[in-house]
């Protein structure tokens, strides 16, 4: 499941960008132009892949799980046990955001840097290295927003979004939560990708970072099912925070404390990522 | 009287390593209802042992198609082709075992390092590893890449990649080395390095067959060449022969301000100098979009005659005739647009 996807929230980023005139929007425009040529690929990854995942795992496998001995392991809402589909769907939303983020943050950076050299053209214009970095982050954020929105819509169609929660808007907040999760992945990853000379590291990230996160960070079963020694590790991953946040909001089970904790963790990751990306882009583009 | 047989006479293959008669290459239509494309339209030539044989012509003349047929990677559509006495349709593997190929487009193995490129390529020929290792060291020295042996291919410059391709093509000590546009895309300095290495191979007795659309390359390297245009051979001979046969000793080039109409007027006046019988007489005139070429035995005298007839060019140049002029004469077009 190494498809390409993407991400979110520029408000969080502009704080770090206020030093230079932000011309990042031009970079975004350039990427969007390019994106129009490759939309077909992303229709698949953004719409079909999550849809199929939800149907196969949430509904079909869900029949098996809901009939099994662990049917009550997924908590209750309004006194009724949560079905596997409802348990899984918000977690897959967070995963869609992560996969989009990682998919758009590695090969496209190398492509812009080395293969098609758009970065060289951009840095020769009035754009600064920080503009280029933020432009890329913003573009990926938009992609994450797009894909997450589509997936969220599919979830709703399948009845996997609970209408419960304070004033009924709680579940809608799962969408920005997913976008935040995605940005927490793309901000540092884009900064790292620019330092790479070859693309071999990228497939290792997919296989040894993304897939284990997808499989062990509470998406398919509660982290409490993992061996006790591994549990702290799973709780420390950004994806678990994203999954738990999205799930809590979608099911209406989130508490103010848990939401604050998750948002603080993910925002800190975004801030650290921007700090790091700003350094690596500067070093690479203005040597 | 009985015929005198001469046992010392070498077999036919010794006189012609490659022999083509009525050779044709026709590509089927790419679309239903489209037209078939004839890339090579019935050509005859012979390549002899130890010579450097060239195909000179512009892009699309059919040179590469001819080379691919010789390299046994493109089936002959019609006519005869014999390489080292064998038929490519039957013996392609045995022929290829004795050829070296430098393709137009670099096909180095990007997943292998410089030394490994030679090692693995040698293995494709079934050579023993120890043998290849010894030869690799020699060949990397020969193409001046010994210090890059452990490098990956990607960071090498265009000239280095070309030289590595040449080294690779020599791993099996080929009897014939075929090179398709060996210096296209290289800067002048890199071209001279490649020419120098090819010249050394020629000195060492390797038979070289090359295509080029650079007349200076053909003049520098080729003992004999054919001029190709639209899939046919327009002329054949040594560079000197061809120049003598199809051009004059010298050429006067004159230029005028673009768009001034002076060039047209000058052509009309210069017609009077053709076969004038006087000093500065010229044999013929070629008009190009940006200049006029006046062909004669004595360029300086022709220039004086041009001035004398009231033509005042913006710039003028007297030079020796080249293969470019031969091509222009034969086809009415220039080699490089």
């Amino acid at each position: 499941m190494t498809d390409k996807l993407s991400v979110p929230v520029t408000g969080l980023l502009t704080g770090g960008a206020s030093v230079t005139p932000v011309m990042a929007d031009r970079v975004v425009a350039a990427f969007l132009t390019n994106y129009r040529r490759t939309w077909r690929a992303s229709i698949f990854s953004s719409v079909l892949a999550p849809l199929l995942g939800l149907v196969a795992l949430g509904m079909s496998l869900g029949k098996v799980v809901d009939a099994g001995p662990g049917a009550h392991a997924f908590g209750t809402v309004d006194g009724r046990p949560v079905t596997y589909l409802v348990f899984l769907a918000p977690a897959l939303l967070a995963n869609t955001a992560m996969q989009t983020a990682l998919g758009e943050s590695m090969y496209p950076v190398m492509q812009a840097m080395k293969w098609q050299r758009q970065y060289h053209a951009a840095i020769a214009s009035p754009l600064s290295a920080l503009d280029i970095y933020l432009g890329h982050v913003t573009f990926v954020t938009l992609r994450i927003l797009m894909n997450s929105t589509v997936f969220f819509g599919v979830m709703a169609l399948f009845g996997a979004v609970h209408a419960a929660g304070p004033a009924g808007i709680g579940p809608l907040l799962a969408l920005p939560a997913a976008v935040l999760t995605g940005v927490a992945f793309c901000a540092p990853t884009i900064g790292w990708a620019i330092t790479q000379e070859r693309d071999t590291g990228f497939s290792l990230v997919f296989r040894f970072v993304m897939i284990p996160l997808f499989l062990f960070s509470g998406t398919f079963f509660p982290v409490s099912q993992l061996p006790a020694v591994i549990q702290p590790l799973a709780y420390a991953t950004p994806l678990w925070h994203g999954v738990d946040l999205c799930r809590g909001l979608a099911l209406g089970t989130a508490t103010a404390g848990s939401v604050a904790g998750h948002v603080a963790y993910l925002s800190a990751l975004v801030a650290a990522g921007v700090w790091y990306g700003r350094r690596t882009y500067r070093r690479r583009l203005n040597p | 009287m009985a015929q005198i047989t001469s046992p010392e006479l070498p077999p036919a293959v010794e006189t012609a390593l490659i022999k083509a008669a009525g050779l044709r290459k026709v590509f089927p239509p790419t679309r239903r209802g489209g037209d078939a494309f004839t890339a090579v339209d019935g050509i005859d030539f012979e390549v002899r042992r130890g010579e450097v044989f060239g195909f000179l012509g512009p892009n699309g003349a059919g040179k590469s198609s001819t080379m691919r047929m010789i390299g046994c990677v493109s089936p002959v559509s019609a006519g005869e082709l014999t390489i080292l006495g064998m038929d490519p349709r039957v013996d392609s593997s045995r022929i290829k075992a004795r050829l070296g190929v430098v393709p137009q487009e670099d096909s180095l193995d990007l997943e292998l390092r410089v030394r490994e490129n030679l090692l693995i390529y040698g293995r494709y020929f079934g050579l023993k590893r120890a043998e290849i290792a010894a030869r690799t060291a020699e060949l990397l020295d020969f193409v001046q890449l010994a210090d890059r042996a452990e490098s990956t291919v990607e960071p090498l410059s265009g000239g280095m990649k070309r030289r590595l391709t040449i080294a690779r093509s020599l791993i099996n000590s080929p009897e014939i080395l075929i090179l398709d546009e060996p210096t296209t895309g290289l800067d002048p300095q890199a071209r001279h390095v490649v020419w120098d290495r090819l010249f050394r191979l020629k000195q060492a007795g390797t038979t070289l067959v090359l295509t080029t659309h650079y007349m200076d390359e053909a003049e520098q390297l080729c003992d004999r060449l054919v001029v190709m245009d639209h899939g046919r051979i327009a002329a054949e001979g040594s560079p000197r022969d061809l120049i003598e046969r199809y051009s004059t000793r010298e050429v006067l080039e004159i230029r005028f301000a673009p768009g001034s109409g002076e060039q047209e007027a000058a052509v009309a006046k210069a017609e009077g100098l053709v076969h004038s019988g006087e000093r500065g007489s010229i044999e013929r005139i070629e008009e190009l979009p940006d200049r006029i070429l006046l062909y004669g035995a004595d360029g300086e005298a022709a220039l004086a005659a041009v001035h004398g007839s009231g033509i005042t060019p913006l710039a003028s140049l007297v030079r020796r005739s080249s293969l470019e002029d031969v091509f222009l004469h034969l086809t009415g077009r220039t080699l490089v647009d």
Binding site: T38, R40, A41, F44, L48, A49, L52, G53, A56, S60, L61, K63, V64, V65, G68, P69, G70, A71, S203, L204, R207, F208, P212, L215, F216, F220, F221, Q225, L226 | G71, C72, V73, S74, P75, P88, R89, V90, D91, S92, S93, R94, K96, A97, L99, P103, E105, S107, L108, D109, E111, E116, Y121, R123, Y124, F125, G126, L127, K128, S169, N172
Partner: protein
């Protein structure tokens, strides 16, 4: 010639290829391609190893982690049920990846095959060599995964020994069809279709749950897909539920591989020797 000859592969390759532009198709020199790939992957061992870890991660997550919650499926613990499915999926994915992305890259961009064809190698050597390498690699992954299944007590029968050749059969069937498809591809965008074919098969072919959750007609549809047959075979072997009907699965995969190889061989020659 010091190259090890593989005399058996030549008639096979000849059978699979039609129009001969240049005498015999070859196939006997395929081992040098394996040698080349071993030199390449000596430096990329981590990447090579990752191909083994992916199914293992799935086994530990879906099989073990989720398995505690699902209870027994089809009369066996869920982990035992899922493991052979993952083995089949991994054999499919490896073969398809090698025969599509890798072959396309070498054919269209790196011109690797053009360089090989300038030497005594023939199209048959290349086809047999590339398919053999993919099979060899897949075989190592499958053997390692099976060993883990044995260690975890997921294998119920000695019939499981046959699972190894079956993974090779699955790899051959998918690899041959993948290579045939690759010869029709024009750009990287066309590879979306590959993902489009693989992902639903991966999710719906019964690797994770029994087909009994489906309605009749969906079930018939799934049973027509090739991955279902691979999963069915491997599950029967590792759980020791062998019956004659499995020969249909074998036949299906063999026919699929033969058709793929036939098309791939003819198309490759036409593409490479123009």
């Amino acid at each position: 010639m010091t190259t090890t000859e593989l005399p058996l592969t030549t008639p096979l390759a000849r059978l699979l290829l039609g129009r001969r532009a240049f005498g015999p198709l070859g196939g006997s020199k395929a081992p040098v391609l394996i040698e080349r790939n071993m030199v390449v992957y000596r430096r990329l061992w981590l990447m090579l190893a990752s191909g083994f870890f992916e199914p293992l991660f799935y086994l530990l997550s879906i099989g073990v982690g989720l398995g505690k919650l699902t209870g027994a499926v089809d009369g066996v613990p869920y982990t035992d049920y899922v493991a052979p499915g993952l083995l089949a999926v991994s054999a499919m994915n490896g073969a398809v990846f090698d025969s599509t992305f890798n072959v396309f890259f070498k054919m269209k961009y790196a011109k690797t095959y053009d360089a090989m064809l300038a030497t005594p190698l023939r199209v048959g050597d290349i086809a047999v060599g590339e398919i053999s390498w993919a099979q060899l690699r897949g075989l190592i992954y499958s053997a390692a995964f099976l060993a883990i299944m044995v260690a975890m007590g997921l294998v119920h029968s000695w019939w499981a020994l046959l699972a190894l050749p079956v993974t090779v059969l699955i790899g051959f069937a998918f690899g041959a069809v993948g290579m045939a498809c690759t010869t029709f591809m024009r750009s990287w965008q066309d590879f979306d279709l590959v993902t489009l074919a693989l992902m639903p098969m991966f999710l719906f072919s019964g690797a994770f749950y029994p087909l009994s959750v489906y309605s009749h007609w969906i079930r018939v549809l799934i049973e027509a897909l090739p991955l279902y047959h691979g999963i069915d075979l491997l599950r029967a072997l590792t759980l020791g539920r062998v019956h004659v009907g499995l020969l249909w699965d074998v036949l299906y995969l063999m026919v699929m591989g033969a058709i793929g190889a036939l098309v791939a061989g003819r198309r490759l020659e036409r593409l490479l020797l123009t």
